[in-house]
């Protein structure tokens, strides 16, 4: 057994690392590491740079632009991007809608949507959660009633990330309200956000940023050719997609970068006239997170190794999501703690400054801490992940 990458894998990593160094624009990286808000141009800008290199969709089949990398190479690539401070890619098109289309879509749907997703022509968002349906996703109520060659969609989605920037939304809708097993009356629709009857309302989060929305559907007409898979098969699609959503949540590379940042930041803070990193209480907490991250990095590789043969990931990804998000949160919490009393300052009270971008790293720490609480809630809360492990891995 050898826990190190092979010579080939190391060469691949060095190649990716070198390319990132040369091609990740400094202003983009700067925004990421300062926790500054990323706009549509930042997110799509990086998408298009990767698309130009042919690296935007490594896991897709080669005919649609995939790189042919194996799971370890794909992991190395993602971790290097995170470690380098590349903007996160919007997952809704690339990592969620596209795999669904590749698995269940018609040829016409693939030809229509995949090249646009690849190039970053459209921003996608995900219409899953509803006010009454969070962890219990299958209880969703947004209805789609068939009328001739279209569906008439009515209802509401919530917590819809970047709906305000999106061109398209993929939605789980109820096409059969009468069926007894609630999972069986659900279908999967692709909806153009410009369609009449769609209203997007911002849902401000506690960090003050506009990231998620409520999306209202009022007699929205959706052509029948925008349904993916058969009518009533939406739950099959959703389950397939949830596996994909949880594939990359450990974020080892990003957390390694944040850990380095935290160490440097804490060393620059003074406590009783010495660097904060000299304080044994703080140093112990820092060390514990680092150790947990060291273990998780290997856990992640061990799970990947098991997938090399092409096995579909199971409960392992739930473990990666739980530990990965706990580490991300611990890092942001320690960063806020390191910032001390002055990290409680959000910015000047002068109204003209409210909402203006704040360049002060210290002032970004508290909103960041607030924002990162979402990670243990989104993409299947960590409670749901534990249920999955209990049921599917442990047989409880």
């Amino acid at each position: 057994m050898d826990l190190d990458y092979s010579a080939d894998e190391r060469a691949f990593r060095d190649h990716v690392r070198g390319w990132l160094r040369a091609n990740l624009p400094a202003p983009m990286r700067d925004k990421v590491v300062r926790y500054a808000p990323l706009d549509r141009d930042d997110l799509l800008g990086w998408h298009r740079i990767l698309a130009g290199q042919g690296w935007i969709a490594p896991s897709w089949p080669r005919e649609w632009g995939g790189t042919g990398w194996n799971v370890v190479q794909r992991y190395i690539f993602e971790e290097e991007c995170g470690y380098a401070g590349a903007p996160p890619l919007i997952p809704f098109g690339l990592a969620m809608c596209a795999p669904v289309l590749l698995e269940f879509g018609s040829d016409a749907q693939k030809r229509r949507f995949l090249p646009r997703i690849y190039r970053g022509d459209d921003v996608w968002c995900q219409g899953y959660s509803e006010p009454g349906s969070g962890s219990d996703l299958a209880s969703l109520r947004t209805s789609a009633v068939r009328r001739d060659d279209r569906y008439i969609v009515n209802g509401q989605k919530t917590w819809t990330t970047i709906a305000h920037l999106a061109d398209w939304i993929f939605c789980l809708v109820r096409t059969d309200a009468a069926i007894e097993r609630k999972q069986e009356g659900i279908s999967f629709l692709l909806i153009d956000m410009k369609t009449r009857g769609i209203t997007v309302r911002p849902l401000p989060l506690m960090d003050g940023r506009h990231e998620v929305n409520e999306v209202f559907f009022d007699d929205v007409e959706v052509p029948i050719e925008n349904r993916v898979h058969d009518e009533g098969k939406g739950w099959t699609v959703a389950k397939y997609l949830l596996g994909h959503e949880r594939m990359n949540t450990a974020r080892i590379g990003t957390s390694k970068r944040e850990l380095e940042r935290l160490k440097a930041f804490a060393a620059a803070q003074s406590k009783n006239g010495a660097p904060l990193t000299d304080d044994p209480r703080f140093r112990d907490k820092l060390s514990r997170v680092e150790i947990e991250l060291m273990a998780l990095a290997i856990t992640n590789l061990r799970f990947l190794d098991q997938l090399r043969g092409g096995r579909v990931p199971g409960a392992e990804v739930s473990m990666l999501k739980i530990k990965g998000t706990e580490i991300q949160q611990a890092l942001t919490e320690l960063m806020l703690e390191a910032g001390g009393p002055l990290a409680q300052v959000l910015g000047p009270a002068d109204p003209v400054d409210i909402g203006a971008p704040n360049d002060d790293f210290l002032a970004a720490l508290a909103p960041r801490y607030c924002n990162m609480r979402k990670t243990t809630i989104y993409a299947g809360s960590n409670e749901i992940q534990r249920n999955i492990i209990a049921r599917h891995a442990l047989g409880l």
Partner: protein
């Protein structure tokens, strides 16, 4: 032992409860936080009329002569309703420093100072702030680089104070400055009353994580008369520690109110939010977590009461500080656990700015580090043990 509140304390608690219900609904608070002043003058007036601004001030100067124990119901209400008005800065810090500072050589001047300021505080006419914290100080009270140089029978103050709670709206500042020694010496600190509009004082108003306002305040050769001194020159640190201990004990009680509010909201959510056809509170995994939060509340309440009692009765400064640090270390842990768990148990709803729990989360996060975080108070507790 008598754990029952006195008749007066019971009446006060009832009147505070009515005030909060009537004047401080969450939507009202939202408007107050968003207003240009960041606090409500109407609410401040009401607090004065209810006698809340004079609660722990000496009876001889317009107050009610109460101690920390008498403020518990008020502090819990401030925590529960997330009241942003400058009560703690004005009454528990600024006014306490003025009320408690002793100076044998300037006894008459001291009385004049108290007569001029304390009744006006009780009546709601003066708001105070304690301009003490500096950039490099973190939580160390002795660390003061601001200097006060004797000059022409008075003093010239120069330095920069950072993120002074409620500094934005204060009429008078109690400023700590070094009249002797190096930045971290325990000797050589003095306290001065400085008018808001004194020449050389400059403010930058700040928004804080918990919705309150603060200010960076700079002093550029600010001239104050000798009568501006509070207590004895060069020996202010014991007074600062005493008053900060007092305010810390009160903030612990405030945390208890915020924790209660968070737990009530979370429990209600567990009982009413339905997923998989049942209330999520029927899931044992969540029940046990809610139980742990209920236990956090009880432990927090107990240690806060212990701290309030210690600052009221403690003649031994070390014993008092030790108990206050015990409380603050424990309360900081409770703040962290309760705030994080209440967001998690609320799910996405807990992340929303439109729901009170996310604001309670922010206040609890702020309290966890206010007057020193858990590590600071653990170290202080251990050092005093």
């Amino acid at each position: 032992m008598n754990l029952d509140p006195s008749e007066e304390q019971r009446l006060l608690a009832a009147s505070i409860e009515r005030f909060v219900e009537r004047d401080y609904a969450f939507e009202t608070r939202r408007r107050i936080v968003a207003s240009s002043d960041g606090y409500s003058q109407d609410v401040w007036r009401t607090m004065a009329e209810l006698g809340l601004l004079g609660l722990p001030l000496p009876a001889a100067y317009g107050g009610f002569g109460g101690g920390a124990m008498d403020t518990v119901s008020l502090m819990e209400a401030i925590g529960g309703a997330l009241i942003v008005e400058p009560w703690l800065a004005t009454v528990a810090l600024g006014a306490q420093l003025i009320a408690r500072g002793e100076n044998d050589t300037l006894r008459e001047l001291r009385d004049e100072q108290r007569r001029r300021i304390l009744p006006a505080v009780a009546e709601g006419r003066l708001k105070l702030a304690f301009a003490h914290a500096e950039a490099a100080a973190r939580h160390t009270l002795a660390h003061v680089a601001t200097r006060a140089r004797a000059n022409d029978g008075g003093y010239l103050i120069s330095g920069v104070k950072r993120a002074i709670p409620q500094g934005a709206c204060a009429d008078l500042l109690v400023v700590s400055a070094r009249t002797d020694g190096d930045d971290s010496d325990v000797e050589g600190l003095s306290l001065f009353v400085v008018e808001r509009d004194a020449p050389g004082v400059a403010f930058t108003a700040l928004r804080m994580l918990d919705g309150t306002r603060a200010a960076d305040v700079s002093f550029d050769e600010v001239r104050v008369p000798a009568q501006a001194l509070i207590g004895a020159p060069d020996r202010a640190l014991p007074l600062i520690e005493e008053v900060v201990d007092f305010a810390t004990a009160l903030v612990c009680a405030e945390a208890v109110g915020a924790i209660k509010s968070a737990n009530d909201a979370t429990l209600e959510y567990l009982k009413t939010r339905k997923q998989f056809g049942v209330a999520i509170g029927s899931f044992q995994a969540l029940q046990h977590r809610m139980v742990d939060l209920a236990i956090e509340y009880e432990q927090a309440k107990s240690i806060a009461l212990l701290a309030c009692s210690a600052v009221d009765t403690g003649h031994d400064a070390a014993a008092r500080s030790r108990t206050v640090s015990a409380a603050k270390a424990r309360i900081a842990d409770a703040c962290r656990k309760v705030s994080q768990e209440s967001i998690q148990l609320h799910g996405g709803m807990g992340m929303s700015d439109e729901v009170k729990i996310s604001h309670t989360f922010r206040r609890l996060t702020a309290i966890a580090q206010q007057f020193g975080d858990a590590d600071h108070h653990l170290a202080r507790f251990a050092a005093l043990s």
